[in-house]
Point group: C2
Chain length 351, copies 2
Amino acid sequence: MNSNNHLVIMAGGIGSRFWPMSSEERPKQFLDILGCGRTLIQLTLDRFAGMVPTENVWVVTGERYAEITREQLPDVPPENILAEPCRRNTAPCICYVSWKIKKRNPMANIVVTPADHIVTDTAGFRTAVGEAMEFTAETDAIVTLGIKPTRPETGYGYIKADLAFSSSRKKNIYRVDAFKEKPDLKTAEEYVSEPNYLWNSGIFVWSVATIINAFRVYQPTMNKGFERLLKKMDTPEEKAAIDALYGDCENISVDYAIMEKAEEVFVRPADVGWSDLGTWGSLLTHLQRDGHGNALVGKDIAVFDTQNCIIHTAGNQKVVVQGLDGYIVAEKDGVLMVCKLSEEQRISLFH
Amino acid sequence: MNSNNHLVIMAGGIGSRFWPMSSEERPKQFLDILGCGRTLIQLTLDRFAGMVPTENVWVVTGERYAEITREQLPDVPPENILAEPCRRNTAPCICYVSWKIKKRNPMANIVVTPADHIVTDTAGFRTAVGEAMEFTAETDAIVTLGIKPTRPETGYGYIKADLAFSSSRKKNIYRVDAFKEKPDLKTAEEYVSEPNYLWNSGIFVWSVATIINAFRVYQPTMNKGFERLLKKMDTPEEKAAIDALYGDCENISVDYAIMEKAEEVFVRPADVGWSDLGTWGSLLTHLQRDGHGNALVGKDIAVFDTQNCIIHTAGNQKVVVQGLDGYIVAEKDGVLMVCKLSEEQRISLFH
C-alpha cells in the first residue's frame, strides 16, 4: 500500500430524489439503501480497502452530517472529516481538501469519489483506480473514470474519449476529447451507438500537485482563498476561517471549474457495474428482483399481481401490495410515498 | 321516550375486510372510519339518541371487546354489555340478549342493529325505526328495515316485499313475501329493476314477547338453553353458565334461524343513505371526495395525478401518492396496504 495514496469521499449531497428513504436529516449516503447491512458511504470506503492507508482517508460533508460520518466510519480519523458550513458544489470541496492534503503530504496521490455511488464489480473497479493512480503518480494528468454506457441515459454527463490516443504509459488510459453535458435523448442515443463515449462517473484521480496547480490556473480566486488559510489549517482557527471563506466561494462543480478547461485530461474506461444511484430506477437495476421484476427491500413485504415495482421500507413496517405495475412504494419514519417509476423525477417536489 | 323501548347493538364482528385499518384487536365498529371524530359504534348509539332510555341500551360483543365498548360507550350501563365467549353469528346473540331484556321488562319493545353500519339521513332513519317500533308495540310482528337499492349489489341479501299488502295500522309497513340470499349479478340486476325488492339491512324491530316466542317455535333447542339460565342471569353465576352454553349454540344468523321461517314478517322500506360499510368501496361512497373522486382520511395526505382512490391513515403518517387510479392505500400501526378497489374482496386473504 502506497503511503502517498489518499482517498477523498465527497459526502455533502442531500439525496432529495430518494425521498422518503433519504431526507435532509439523513441523506442516502448514510442509509443502507441496498438492504445489505452497510450504508452507501460505508460501502464506498469498503471498496478502497487496502488501497489507501486509513489515516489518508478524507471525507468532506455538511456540518450537520459530520457526527453521523464519524459514527459510520469510525476508523477514519476525526480530523480528516471536513465539515462544509454551506453547500457549494464540488469545486470548493475539492480545493479545500486538496490544500489540507498538500499540507500533510505534498507527494500525495488522490482518488476522489462521491459517497453515494455503487459498484458491483469491485475487482474491476480497483484495477481501474489502481492503474489511474499509478499513472497520476508519475504524470501531471487528471484522470476520470469513464463508464461504458449501457443505455442512452440523459441524466449523466458524457466523456468523449480519443481511443486512438492511449497513454504511452498505460494502454487503458485515453486522452479526453471533450466533456459533454447531460444530453437530450436523441443525442444520448447517438453517444451510446459510438464506442468512444463514456459516462462521466465523477470519480477523479490526480496528484495533489496537479490538482492544486489546476486550481491555481483555472480558479485563481477560489484557490487563493484556501491557500491563504494554509497556516490556520489544523489549528483551532481553521473552523472560523473556513466558515468565513466558504460562503464566498463560487457554487461550481469541479467538472466546470477544472475538467473542461484543463489540458492533460484522461479517462480510464471501466465496465464495473457502476451506478450513481441517482434515482429509484437506478437503484432498481442494482437490487435482486423476483420473477416478476419486483425488488423488495424490507422485513415483511408481500406482493400480489404486482410487477416491476420497487418496495422499500425501513424498520418493521409490514407491507402488502396488490395490483401495481411499475411503481415505487417507499416508507420511512412515518412517511409513505407511492409514485410511478416513470414519474420519479417529480419526487423532489413532493416534500 | 317510551320506557319500554330497548336498543340492542350487535358489535361482535371482526371486520376482516377493512384490514389494515380494522384488525381483530380493534375491528371497524371501534374505529373512526369516517374520520369524523366518532367511532362507528358511537355513531350507531348517537343515531338512536332520545328514542331509547340509556339504561335500555344493550351491546353484545366479543369478550375481548367488552373493555373497549365500555370505554367508547361510557353511558351504557356496564351490566348491559354482554360478552360472547365465542363467535356464534347473530341468532345466539339475539336469543341471549332477548332473555336478558325479557327478565328486566316483559313489555320491552326492541330495535336490533349492527354496530358498524352508517346512515346519512338520520331523521329519515329515526322516522322509519319509530314507525316500526310503534307497530311492533301493538302487534306480534317482526319488522326489518328494507333499504331501497341504488345498485345491483351482490353482497347483500334482498327482501321481496308485497307492496299491495301494507299493514292496516302503518301504511309504510309491508308484508314480506320472501327473503332472498345474496344474488348473482344478473339476478341482482333483475331485483333492482323491480320496485318491491329491498336490501336486507340487518336492522330488526320486534317486541321481546314476539322474538322470544319465535325462538321458542323455530329454535327450540337454542331457546331452551338460554331460558334455563334465566335464574342465573344478573347473578355471579351468569358468566360461567354462558361460557358453558354458548359454544354449543348453533352458529346461525337470525335471518336463517327466524326471519325466513316466521309468518308475521314485515318490512319498512327506508331510503336513508344506509351502508353496511362492508367494504372499502362502500366506505368510499360515504366519504367526502375531492374533484378527482379521491377520499382522503388522514392528517397529512397529498395526491398528484390520482383519482378514484381512498387513502386512509391513522395517526400521523404522512402520505404522498402519485399516479394511482382506483386504489385503496391504507396504513395503520406499521401495516401498509395498497390494493385495487376492484380486487378488495381479496383483502381478507392478505393478513
